[in-house]
C-alpha cells in the first residue's frame, strides 16, 4: 500500500466517509473508491452490496475492503443506565455522544472522557448529523427532552432508535408523534420498550439487553 493511500483512508474515517479499498491480489494495484462514486466503478454492483452489508470480500482476484465510518451511539439522557451502556458500546466499537440539557446530569465527573452536550437535542443534533452508521437511545423518560430527539431520529436514516419506558409510556409517546404528523409505520421504527427481553434487572443488565437489540438491528436489520 502506498503511504498516501493510507493517509487518505484515515482521513475518510475522520470525516465519516465510507470508502472501499480495492486491491488486485495478483498485481498489488490498489484504488480507493468513495461510496458516493461507487456507481461509476467497474465493480459497482459488488461495491453497492458490500457497502450496504458492511461486508468485505474477494471477487475474481480483487479484494474489496469496506471501510465504513465508525459506528456511533447518541444517548439522550446523562442518566444511570447510560453509565452502564457506555463501556459496553465502546467495547462494541461505537463512538459515544451523550446529550442532556440538564447540566447537573451532563457532567464530566459522571461521564469522564465522553463527548457530552449539555444542550437540547434539537439544537445539537443537526451539528452531530445522523447517518446510517448511527444509533440513538432515548433514556430520560422526559418527553420535553426525548421527543425532539426522536423527531430528529425518525426524519433520519439511522439504523436503530430505542426509547426507554413502559408500554403505557410508549403508547402516549406514539400518540404525541402521530400528532406531529408521523405515520404508524415511521413510529414503528422506535424500539420501545427498549431492548430484547432477557428479564433484565438493574442498569448493567438493561444495557446488555439494549446493546443486544442494537446489534441485531445492525447485523440483521430488524
Amino acid at each position: 500500500m502506498k503511504r498516501d493511500l493510507l493517509v487518505q483512508l484515515l482521513a475518510a474515517r475522520a470525516n465519516r466517509q465510507a470508502v472501499a479499498l480495492i486491491t488486485d491480489l495478483a498485481t498489488g494495484e490498489q484504488r480507493l473508491v468513495p461510496r458516493a462514486q461507487a456507481g461509476n466503478d467497474p465493480l459497482a454492483e459488488k461495491l453497492d452490496e458490500a457497502f450496504r452489508f458492511d461486508q468485505s470480500g474477494s471477487h475474481d482476484g480483487k479484494f474489496i475492503n469496506i471501510h465504513n465510518p465508525p459506528l456511533r451511539l447518541v444517548i439522550i439522557g446523562a442518566v444511570h443506565i447510560a453509565q452502564s451502556v457506555i463501556p459496553m458500546a465502546q467495547q462494541l466499537g461505537y463512538d459515544v455522544t451523550v446529550i442532556d440539557p440538564r447540566g447537573a446530569f451532563a457532567t464530566g465527573a459522571r461521564f469522564p472522557g465522553i463527548a457530552l452536550h449539555a444542550e437540547w437535542p434539537d439544537e445539537i443534533l443537526p451539528q452531530i448529523g445522523l447517518d446510517p452508521r448511527t444509533a440513538m437511545i432515548a433514556l430520560t423518560h422526559d418527553p420535553k427532552i426525548d421527543d425532539p430527539a426522536l423527531n430528529a431520529a425518525l426524519k433520519s436514516d439511522i439504523f436503530y432508535i430505542g426509547a426507554l419506558g413502559s408500554k403505557k409510556t410508549q403508547a402516549a409517546r406514539a400518540q404525541r408523534l402521530r400528532d406531529h404528523g408521523f405515520s404508524d409505520e415511521q413510529i414503528a421504527r422506535i424500539h420501545g420498550p427498549i431492548g430484547i427481553n432477557i428479564g433484565a434487572k438493574g442498569a448493567p443488565e438493561i444495557a446488555v439487553s439494549i446493546m443486544a437489540e442494537m446489534t441485531r438491528a445492525l447485523r440483521l436489520g430488524d
Binding site: M1, K2, R3, L6, V7, L9, L10, R13, T23, L25, G28, D54, Q55, S56, G57, S58, F63, N65, I66, H67, N68, P70, L71, G93, Y94, D95
Partner: protein, 107 residues
C-alpha cells in the same frame, strides 16, 4: 469493518511517522469456520512488533515472520493457511477453517 481496525491502521500511520518500516496483513478470504472475519488486519513493523489480529492467535507468528521478509523485499504476497484441527488444538484454537492473508508493505 470494526472500529478497532481503524485503530490498527492509525497505528501503521503512527509507526510510519516515527520512521519505522511497516507491513499490513489483511484477511482476504476465509473458508469454513475462520476465527477472524474478512477484513481483519494486523500491522507489523520491521522489529516484529505487531498490533491487531488475523486469526485470534493461530497463525500470527507465521504472518509476522513473512511480513519481515515482505518489508525487506517491498513486494506484497498472498499467504494461505489451513488451520488443521490437530494443529489448532495445539495452539488453543479448534476452528478447522482456512484463511487467505494478503501481506503488503507500506511504502
Amino acid at each position: 469493518m470494526a472500529a478497532s481496525d481503524h485503530t490498527i491502521l492509525q497505528q501503521a500511520a503512527d509507526w510510519l511517522a516515527e520512521g519505522r518500516k511497516v507491513a499490513i496483513a489483511t484477511v482476504v478470504e476465509t473458508w469454513g469456520s475462520a476465527p477472524q472475519p474478512i477484513g481483519s488486519q494486523l500491522v507489523i513493523d520491521a522489529d516484529g512488533n505487531f498490533i491487531g489480529s488475523v486469526s485470534g492467535g493461530c497463525v500470527e507468528g507465521a504472518v509476522v515472520t513473512e511480513a519481515l521478509d515482505i518489508i525487506g523485499s517491498g513486494k506484497p504476497k498472498l499467504l494461505q493457511f489451513g488451520v488443521a484441527d490437530e494443529t489448532a488444538w495445539k495452539v488453543g484454537l479448534a476452528c478447522g477453517g482456512k484463511i487467505g492473508v494478503y501481506v503488503e508493505p507500506v511504502n
